[in-house]
């Protein structure tokens, strides 16, 4: 269990590096396009690549954001409850989140397969779109795993306390 959790953390951090790299790429691409456009020679497809980089930034940081408790929640009620109840709630909440992102991962994978089958490509570069949707599936799947391990960990704590 502990080792599994450690593995998940490592993978999440690795994913987050990809996300950060996408931020830098987006920044450089935008600036390069602006400068080259002044020379009347812009980079074709910047507009759509920037959008796709956006999906990479968000989907690859889903898991690490959750590990850092970065997804904002309303604390006001639960923090007043007894510790034991808090952990129990935590268990259920993590499970709900895990199910939600499990669904999203599953549906995005199906959507990506659909997209691939339909032959739809990006407007300017005629680039395939489905890899980016698979990216969301991957990121959501990892987040689901993170939440599932958290659910198990707090379930164990509930039982122990």
């Amino acid at each position: 269990m502990v080792q599994f959790h450690r593995g998940i953390v490592l993978v999440s951090q690795g994913f987050n590096v990809v996300s950060g790299a996408a931020v830098i790429t987006m920044m450089i691409l935008t600036c390069a396009d602006v400068v080259l456009r002044l020379l009347r020679n812009p980079i074709p497809g910047t507009y759509e690549i920037v959008g796709f980089l956006g999906t990479v930034i968000i989907s690859f940081s889903l898991a690490s954001t959750s590990l850092e408790k970065g997804h904002i929640a309303v604390e006001i009620l639960v923090e007043r409850l007894p510790k034991r109840l808090q952990i129990a709630i935590e268990t259920v909440v993590s499970l709900i989140g895990a199910v939600l992102f499990g669904l999203i991962a599953w549906q995005c994978a199906a959507y990506a397969a659909d997209m691939r089958h339909s032959g739809e490509v990006s407007l300017t570069l005629a680039m395939p779109i489905h890899p980016f949707i698979y990216g969301i599936a991957l990121g959501s799947g990892l987040l689901s795993m993170v939440l599932l391990t958290e659910c198990l960990r707090s379930a164990i704590r509930t039982v122990k306390s």
Binding site: N16, T30, L38, Y47, G54, I57, G70, V78, I96, I104
Partner: protein, 433 residues
Amino acid sequence: MTPVTVGLLGFAVLVALMFARIPVGFVMAIVGFLGFGLLTSWSASLNLIARDFFSVFSSYGLTVIPLFIFMGQIAHHTGISGRLFNAANKIMGHLPGGLAIATIGACAGFSAICGSTSATAATMAAVALPEMKKYRYDPSLATGVVAAGGSLGILIPPSTIFIVYGIMTEQSVGKLFMAGVLPGICLTVLFILSIVVWVRLRPGLCVRAPKATLRERIASLSGVIETFILFVLVMGGLFIGFFTPTEAAGVGAFGTLAIALIGRNLSWKSFITSLNETTRISCMILVIVAGATVFGHFLAVTTIPAGIGSWVSGLRLPPYLIIGIIIIIYLLLGCLMDSLAMIMLTIPVFYPVVTALGYDPIWFGVVIVLVAEMGVITPPIGINVYVVAGVARDVPLQVIFRGVLRMMIALFLTALLLIAFPQIALFLPGLMK
């Protein structure tokens, strides 16, 4: 169950689940998914969540968020914003709430390049919050000021909401932009006044710096140079037409990075920290936007927004009362919905009512933007508050909401002024041909 019943039930479940400490974006996605499934079919609802998450994550317009946050993080971690606030502190820190006032000024300035409230709030939160914390400002004051100040992003042009409104109602976007200028200035002044009053009433909220000598003040000005260069780069480039407001985020981030590198202020560690903070905060915001989108689609099929609209249009009341009711409806809807979705759904019903009453369409556009500004800071779904909470991780949401509600008074006053004196909005556009 009728769609309306399902919709009302959805609201109740939404609020209940939120208080169970489920992340806000998750809750909206869950309730939206369940509600949409009940009203259409489960297979449609399953398909809906995948498509909504993809369209939000890949939205070109939302890419300003990571880039502006990155710009703010670099400015903070390399000391650029620290030196700026040091100067602000030297110059106006002895005034009550001086730094909070400076922050509102900075929000107004930033709004002139950025058309989105969440991007304005995210950038200013990264820049101003750590500094106000350093100068021991009360968290409620500091975060409330940034979350509310960020809402100026859509009133001072450019503004995404004005563009959407202009297109939906076939009004001139140029005139709408002009119409936002004076109310924007008015609201900025009122924000500042509310800080002054708030701090007067509760002097313990911030520590006043000793009055600096003229020499100290002049010396501190050197800390403003970097920010000034950035401002000229971004504003100048926008003004001359080198790039669009969306691209300004990328140029601004790159410029900040370059200034930090040239000044040898950027360590590898602070670079990595900035990037990690950027991905975390952007991810948090975009997940909330995606959840709000799913929830908004559920609301669209409940027919509630259209139903409210036709109810209002059937009322036989004096015009000012109808305007009042419309504003109250927007406030209520704004508590629960993303502003843009709210406007898309309701303008088609309210707009004909308002113009039939003889109100000026441009004026109503400004009123809509004001209520949208309130919407982004009212609980439980106040995106700007979540953005600020994502940066100020040690401040609980309710503390931010408390601070924000005090700043809301300025928004209400601006709305009242606008109703009493429509000329505030209409004077400048009237000068245009």
